[in-house]
């Protein structure tokens, strides 16, 4: 199994506002604190490479305290020059949120060239709230996503210049310099929430599918749908096409790990993902079929998720090294996920570094049958 270190870069704070997204005033953001946090977080990512993690993940979110990385490519650029081995996974760029998605083709190609071909390029639509922050019409989200993805993939693979005449994006000259180093292009991943349309789209293109903060039964169901879709498209999914993002807490014993998880991981759900209800459901962001599925079986709001639920439903992994190994085996052996992305939070920078070390020494080595395999070979393109 491959391990990727995933950072949200949260601005951890407590507040009584109805929403941590879109409307939480940025007067709460202290740039001095932000400076310290960015450096701690980047140190953690660099340390993850040192400890043996296979990949480092950054992502894009806007106008919130949950993740202060509106441009993941900026953070990826900082990592490119400070690391030498680990993959740098941008999970992802919000394609429909850009007015000029050719910039994504350019920026990711720059990163790929500069990093010597270590970049993984996530394509996402952006979560619901981003449509309130950017002004992009959520009813166009899916169509803009497909069109921008098509444009970027063509820009990376077809010799330029060529003209592109889409519904949302139009260019007389598509001819980006540089071209990516990886051929035919950097692996593309699809972090998603399990809509059947995206599953089919990703499976058809062999793009790995990443499930973020999802109950384990739902992961199993969507993985099943993805594997079936791969078979329908004439091939069997590699384990490295099935990726999961789950927070991990490891400590000397289960009780201590539980205490840390309750205090620090639940912040992500209960405060970080607290959202004014309309921001969860902008019109047209989901297909009507997806809306119906959700209405018939409404998931709990993250802000209302209790630790007991998160624990029972497998939203988080916590425990002693032995317990964490057992819980991870569910992902590796039962779900057959090839890659686990996880962030860690020990409550302080130092505690987080210690936790990372414990995980690298006492958990990771037990899952290294595939140490010599390149997880990006033959997938994502």
């Amino acid at each position: 199994m491959k391990f990727y270190y995933f950072h949200l870069m949260p601005y951890v704070m407590d507040h009584d506002e109805p929403s941590s997204w879109v409307t939480l005033s940025n007067r709460h953001y202290d740039p001095k604190v932000g400076q310290r946090l960015y450096h701690e977080y980047l140190d953690q990512l660099e340390y993850a490479e040192h400890l043996g993690w296979d990949g480092l993940c950054v992502n894009e979110h806007h106008q919130n305290c949950y993740g202060t990385m509106p441009s993941p490519n900026v953070m990826a650029a900082m990592l490119v020059r400070r690391t030498t081995r680990a993959k740098i996974a941008i999970l992802g760029n919000g394609l429909p949120l850009r007015e000029n998605p050719l910039r994504i083709a350019e920026e990711v190609a720059m990163l790929d060239v500069a990093s010597g071909g270590r970049v993984i390029s996530g394509f996402v639509r952006g979560i619901s709230a981003e449509y309130f922050s950017t002004g992009v019409n959520p009813t166009h989200s899916r169509d803009r996503f497909y069109e921008a993805a098509d444009l970027i993939l063509r820009a990376w693979t077809e010799p330029g210049p060529f003209a592109f005449d889409g519904r949302f994006y139009r260019y007389h000259y598509v001819n980006p310099w540089p071209r990516p180093l990886q051929q035919p292009h950097p692996p593309v991943w699809c972090p998603s929430q399990g809509s059947s349309e995206t599953v089919e789209w990703a499976a058809k293109r062999r793009f790995p599918y990443l499930m973020v903060f999802t109950p384990i039964t739902r992961i199993a169901q969507i993985y099943g749908e993805y594997r079936e879709a791969c078979e329908r498209n004439g091939y069997t999914a590699s384990p490295y096409q099935l990726t999961v993002n789950v927070p991990i807490v490891v400590a000397e014993n289960d009780a201590k790990a539980r205490e840390i998880a309750e205090k620090h991981v639940m912040w992500v759900f209960n405060t970080g993902l607290r959202m004014h209800p309309p921001f969860w459901r902008p019109p047209g962001y989901m297909t009507e079929a997806s809306v119906r599925r959700m209405l018939e079986n409404p998931p709990p709001l993250p802000s209302e998720l209790t630790f007991a639920q998160a624990d029972a439903q497998g939203y988080i992994i916590y425990g002693s090294p032995a317990t964490v190994r057992d819980k991870l085996r569910v992902f590796s052996d039962e779900l057959r996920a090839g890659i686990v992305c996880s962030g860690m939070n020990g409550g302080s920078h130092e505690a987080t570094l210690e936790m990372m070390q414990m995980f690298a020494e006492e958990v990771m080595p037990h899952f290294r049958d595939d140490a010599d395999v390149d997880e990006t070979a033959g997938v994502g393109r």
Partner: protein, 267 residues
Amino acid sequence: MAAERRAQEPRLENLAVRGTPVHLLSGGAGPDLLFLHGAGGAGRWLEFQTALAGRFSVRFPSHPGHGGSPAAGWIEHISDLAFHYLDLLDTLRLERVHLVGASFGGWIGAEIAVMASHRLASLTLIDPVGIKVDGWIYPFLFGMDVPEIVQTVFHNPMAALALAPPDASPETMALQYRQGTALARVSWNPYLYDPLLRRRLARITTPTLLCWGAHDRLAPLEPCGQAWAKDVPGARLRVFAESGHVPHLEEPAAVADAIVEFCGGLP
């Protein structure tokens, strides 16, 4: 009495307008009148429509994606809705109609009027949105929960009950989502206006009545109502003292009377 009540029941028809299915309510007798509803008003034949039906032959279609009319993927811009209703007039063989539009429906009505005033015997716009007014940004209803929306749209919150969904079933919630989607498709950004419409208002040659709620907080009389009154040639402005954004729901009889009076006074 019973016969009279039956006469007021609207007839329901399902039409195809150039291939686009339309759920249409019709009722009353007299000169032809087309009513274009606002967000959330699809299929709600209420006191206002009943009052108009006493003097007019009222046609009340649901916009595509609203009420009983299925969504139409081809509708991408507010002008698509305007052409859709010109096509509806052709389908119904109505040469000229009195057009009454409320809020979002008023926006569509204004778009029709700048294209084809000759198809309109009169134009009544009830607290329309649709133009950019300097110094005013329409409050963003898509970012509001229901209590905030009611607070913004209604002066008399009890009037909102008439538009309340019948239940919270998945079916009803899916319809609400579909309606929001159809609305957002043409109005998310720019929000509730067409940048090209305002300077075109000068093309309107139809006699125009503007009905405005004195307490409209979505599109306030000052500056929005005043901007329409200034830019629609010869428009008459009537203000309804006890109304917010939806006077036809808040003071239905008074608004219907104003329309009857206005149309009765036309040459």
